[in-house]
């Protein structure tokens, strides 16, 4: 099946390429010397002048999600500043219009409409939760905007108008489970999640993989409302089930209670294997490394990643936002957004949404802090997945990584 789908993507990218060809021919002068004329790079009345291009930034600066989204806001700003210092995009400096989604999905919808209809921005970097993305998606498709969405998410979605710079579920989950089965000899799994679409879909994929591929067994699957702070009954169930592995997708503030209560119940990293896909350096700030030492997380990025790109990125981030700033997976993915957009615009030779969308497939970013990424024609990123072990200082020690880039597959057949 996967082969089949792969095939159709290829055909799709070929068709996109074929469609782009006449455009390229029509614009032979675009690449050199003086910035191309505005009329040539902007045929759809976007907010592009001879010296400036306007983009939007739409995150929650206030409300419950602010704590998570601040990192993304900072990283996107950093990338935009760096791009401007290099001369901008197609010779134009990037100007940012910041809007606050206020952790409220209808507000996200209102603000995205404002950015696209009123401000005519050339791209929007934003959203964090799936709910906010779902709220704005119809608007981006209707008004033909371009959204760079940074969060790892549940998949089952693909849009011409969105570039997903985080991992979709299969990328994040499958490698981690294979590793758990192989290296940690885990046969029985206990799945835990906060009760909304991302943990549910992710656990659904995990269960299929455990049962059909690993040939292991799921000995429990439990969900708790967002914000739940009492996990005593869950801990009792875990003690009864005695799973080889706990697979945890608890989000937000619940994490703090969850890990503290695990520790209080004697379920610690030296005795119990636990793998999560929802704890990054940002969450570790709240949980406290001493409560999670020895547990594992599967992510595409950790701040401790050892490569020259990342060293530069961490340095620049800390120089701008202070020594104690931490960088989680989503923050890094948000940093990719403006760079990928810049590369796509330059490849398309135009700010026009249709051309940028068409040019996006195949775009590479070699300076990515996570190493190297490439946009798949399905608008997700090829990326590696790493396993990090939690340390007492709130950082992760990378213990292994996938040998190659993992192909994004937002509609995994056999996992639905």
């Amino acid at each position: 099946m996967s082969k089949n789908q792969h095939c159709s993507f290829k055909r799709r990218s070929f068709m996109i390429g074929a469609a782009a060809l006449p455009l390229m021919l029509a614009m032979p002068l675009a690449a050199h010397a003086a910035p191309p004329a505005t009329a040539a790079v902007n045929t759809t009345k976007l907010a592009v002048t001879d010296t400036e291009v306007t983009v939007g930034q739409l995150h929650s600066a206030t409300g419950t999600m602010a704590i998570s989204e601040t990192g993304s806001i900072q990283a996107e700003q950093l990338a935009i500043d760096q791009i401007n210092a290099l001369g901008g995009v197609l010779g134009r400096k990037i100007k940012v219009i910041k809007e606050d989604g206020a952790s409220d999905w209808p507000t996200f919808a209102e603000k995205s409409k404002k950015l696209l209809v009123n401000d005519r921005v050339a791209a929007v970097f934003g959203c964090w939760t799936s709910a906010s993305r779902k709220a704005v998606l119809p608007i981006f498709e209707k008004e033909n905007g371009m959204l760079y969405y940074p969060t790892f998410y549940e998949g089952l979605e693909q849009s011409k108008n969105v570039i997903y710079t985080g991992q979709e579920a299969t990328q994040q989950i499958l490698y981690g489970l294979d590793w758990a089965a192989k290296e940690k000899k885990a046969k029985t799994y206990f799945l835990i999640g906060s009760d909304y679409i991302w943990p549910r879909t992710s656990n659904k994929i995990a269960r299929k993989h455990i049962e059909n591929v690993i040939k292991g067994k799921v000995v429990g699957e439990e969900y708790y409302p967002l914000g739940q702070t009492n996990f005593n009954s869950l801990i009792n169930k875990i003690k009864v089930a005695k799973p080889d592995a706990i697979y945890a997708i608890v989000v937000g503030g619940s994490n703090v209670a969850f890990y503290k209560q695990l520790k209080a119940a004697g379920i610690t990293g030296d005795k119990q294997f636990l793998l999560t896909i929802s704890v990054t350096e940002d969450e570790m700030l709240g949980i406290g490394g001493e409560n999670t030492v020895g547990f594992y997380a599967a992510m595409k990025y950790f701040q401790s990643l050892d490569n020259p790109n990342n060293k530069k990125f961490v340095e620049a981030f800390k120089a701008k936002y202070g020594k104690n700033a931490v960088i989680g997976d989503v923050t890094q993915a948000a940093y990719l957004g403006p760079w990928l957009w810049k590369a796509s615009v330059e490849k398309a030779g135009s700010f026009d949404i249709d051309k940028v969308a068409a040019a996006s497939g195949g775009i590479e970013f070699k300076d990515a802090p996570e190493g190297y990424v490439k946009i798949h024609p399905n608008h997700h990123l090829w990326s590696k997945t790493r396993i990090g072990q939690m340390q007492s200082d709130g950082q992760f020690k990378v213990v292994t990584e996938s040998p190659g880039l993992i192909e994004p597959n937002p509609f995994p057949k056999g996992y639905q």
């Binding site: 206030t62 209808p106 709910a131 998606l137 119809p138 909304y196 679409i197």
Partner: protein
């Protein structure tokens, strides 16, 4: 004679509605582009809740902190119909089970639940928009008011209902869309509700419905029922001892407010294109009370202006000062409550009306003796709000019945 009186009543009491109608139907459409107008349309859907609260809180003296429940139910009923229409087997062919809403597919449902089935029909959906919230309101209020649960206890219970419903909606995500809500609503009987022309039509339909609702509420206020509600608010026991069934009047008003909120919710789903549980919870419910409080809880028209002011403020502040806007909103709330405890309508009653009256009397040169209270100065120097309020006392109360 009766007709004459009616005309006078119409002339005397409906000009404020006429001005509002002029603003909503002429001024806004002429001065705004469709994006802003669509936003105003969204604000006006909250206006339905606000006028419901004027009837319920201002008139009947029952504070409900759970109006979001009815707004949400109305919105969900509408959204369910629209979602089914958007989920035809062709456009959902990519799903494991084509033909059901996408969120059901994500939650491993393989068939449409039975209680979704009737929402294939628009008449049923429209009926449900009104009926479901009204029925819930009837059950809650009947149970409460018959047992003479009132005041702050009732307010707390309405909050609990709001919390329960939002937990229920979020928890049953396979059936309700969960936290994400019901998104990506496209057409109404094949009519693309996302197009600019549809937005114009919906805006005017919404504004007309709202004005109709205001007129309806005003008629109720002027009827014997309205007088009884006021009497009940001020001295409930006396009304009861006079032989009236106080509880049933409250039940009626609560259901009326619920039905109005539900219409607002349905119009919201149509104009914004999705419905989410973030309208059902406690915070939005309280926010809606603030709309009414800012506008003046005794004034239907004032409540609309309050809703518009708060939401314009929210949009403007958050667009212009994304880092500071919550502080500015708080300043607006505190400022209004401190400076004019009776809201915008109270401001009108205490400052504008006397000033107009003074001008009129000056013009006719009739009563130079009445003028010395010099209300012309008051707008610039609201030095003694207490004195002003005291002075207003009776007159204010009487006139606010018709304002």
């Amino acid at each position: 004679m009766k007709a004459n009186g009616l005309i006078r009543t119409v002339y005397g009491n409906y000009w404020s509605v006429a001005i509002l109608a002029l603003i909503l139907l002429v001024l806004f459409p002429l001065s705004m582009d469709i994006f802003r107008l669509n936003l105003v349309g969204k604000y006006l859907t909250y206006g339905f809740v606000a006028i419901g609260l004027v009837m319920l809180w201002g008139y009947a003296g029952v504070l409900s902190l759970g109006q979001g429940v009815f707004f949400g139910l109305g919105g969900y009923a509408m959204a369910m119909f629209l979602k089914l229409e958007a989920s035809d087997p062709v456009s959902t062919a990519i799903q494991s089970t084509p033909g059901i809403p996408d969120f059901m597919d994500w939650n491993q449902l393989t068939a449409l639940p039975w209680w979704w089935q009737p929402f294939h029909s628009l008449p049923f959906a429209l009926f449900a928009v009104i009926a479901v919230p009204s029925l819930l309101a009837l059950i809650i209020s009947f149970a409460m008011f018959k047992r003479r649960v009132g005041g702050v206890y009732f307010a707390i219970i309405t909050q609990a209902v709001a919390l329960i419903l939002s937990v229920l909606i979020i928890g049953q995500q396979g059936f309700t869309g969960g936290v994400n809500g019901i998104t990506d609503l496209k057409t109404l009987l094949g009519w693309d509700i996302r197009s600019d022309s549809a937005r114009y039509v919906l805006y005017f339909a919404n504004a007309a419905l709202l004005l109709g609702a205001i007129v309806l509420c005003r008629l109720i206020q002027q009827s014997k029922l309205g007088t009884l509600l006021l009497a009940m608010r001020d001295k409930e026991d006396r009304v009861r001892f006079s032989g009236y069934d106080v509880a049933m009047f409250k039940v009626f008003t609560f259901c009326l407010a619920a039905a109005l909120s539900a219409i607002g919710g349905a119009m919201f789903a149509l104009q914004v294109g999705f419905m989410s549980p973030s309208f059902v919870g406690i915070v939005p419910s309280i926010e809606m009370v603030i709309f009414a409080a800012i506008g003046g809880r005794m004034s239907l028209v004032g409540a609309i202006y309050g809703t518009l002011l708060v939401n314009f403020g929210k949009t403007y502040f958050s667009e212009s000062f994304p880092d500071l806007w919550l502080f500015l909103m708080a300043a607006l709330f505190i400022g209004v409550v401190m400076a004019f405890p009776n809201g915008l309508a109270g401001l009108y009653e205490s400052h504008v009306k006397p000033w107009l009256a003074a001008r009129r009397s000056k013009a006719t040169k009739a009563a130079a003796r009445v003028a010395p209270t010099a209300p012309t100065h008051r707008p610039t120097a609201p030095a003694s709000p207490a004195a002003a309020a005291g002075e207003l006392g009776l007159a204010g109360k009487i006139s606010s019945q018709i304002a």
